[in-house]
């Protein structure tokens, strides 16, 4: 997969940093034939002409963690994946994540909602919404 750095080289995505950034740089994500074969082998799915929809589970997270490390102690509170159009398995996706909300309640509990969109050429193919409890 293109453009991944080792976690230990990346700055930690703190609550404050995510809130202040508000959005993350777009990038192209492409799985070559070998990586797609690995994906199908690991997940147990059958290759088709379209990009397997389970890839959304990867880019939904990668959109905001490609250049940051996840702090320890985070909790996944909810996730929603919407597919809008099939994507070709042979062409890259354009991934973009934004912070929809970053809130702290009166007990000091912090939650962030990330929304990640995937486009292929000019077509919006999928949206992933992730709600996470963020460590202090």
């Amino acid at each position: 997969m293109t453009g991944l750095d080792a976690d230990d080289e990346l700055p930690t995505l703190t609550f404050e940093l995510a809130r202040d950034l508000g959005e993350f740089p777009e990038f192209d994500l492409h799985f070559d034939e070998d990586e797609l074969a690995d994906y199908h082998r690991i997940v147990g799915s059958t290759p088709t002409e379209v990009l397997p929809p389970g890839i959304a589970a990867i880019f939904g997270r990668l959109g905001y963690l490609r250049k940051h490390a996840m702090p320890g102690g985070g909790v996944l509170l909810g996730q929603e994946i919407t597919w809008l159009a099939p994507a070709s398995a042979s062409r890259p996706l354009r991934i973009k994540s934004v912070v929809e909300s970053a809130v702290e309640d009166d007990r000091g509990r912090r939650q962030i909602v990330f929304v990640t969109t995937a486009r292929q050429d000019d077509t919006h193919v999928a949206t992933v919404r992730i709600k996470a409890g963020w460590p202090s």
Binding site: V43, P53, I55, A56, A57, Q79, I81, W83, A85
Partner: protein
Amino acid sequence: MKFAREYEMSQRVIDAWADLSGDHNPLHVDIGYAEGTRFGGTIAHGHYTLAVIEDLLLESWGERWLRGGVLRDLRFRAPVRPGGRYRVMVGEPDGGQAHVEVVDMSDGTLVVEGLAVQPC
């Protein structure tokens, strides 16, 4: 249940998914670290389970799933552990929505549940 798939989780699969997804959280890949957490050992990535569900939905409903299908209200109720065997099930649609669940086949524990909304 209308569609189902079974799979066995292993540390080898967890490690391979970590390499593919770029998520090397020690809770998933560092056995020594994970033994000291409240989980008492490594657990599979939640997004691995999501990938299995999404791909089963494609197999179940065809490419129609990719033209407006929504997987939502996901709840992660228990960890998926190496050595465990799991069944993913997509129920009969009712009002355009189908219940999705993943259960531990050893004791029937519900580990993940959610709703799949069919495209119009």
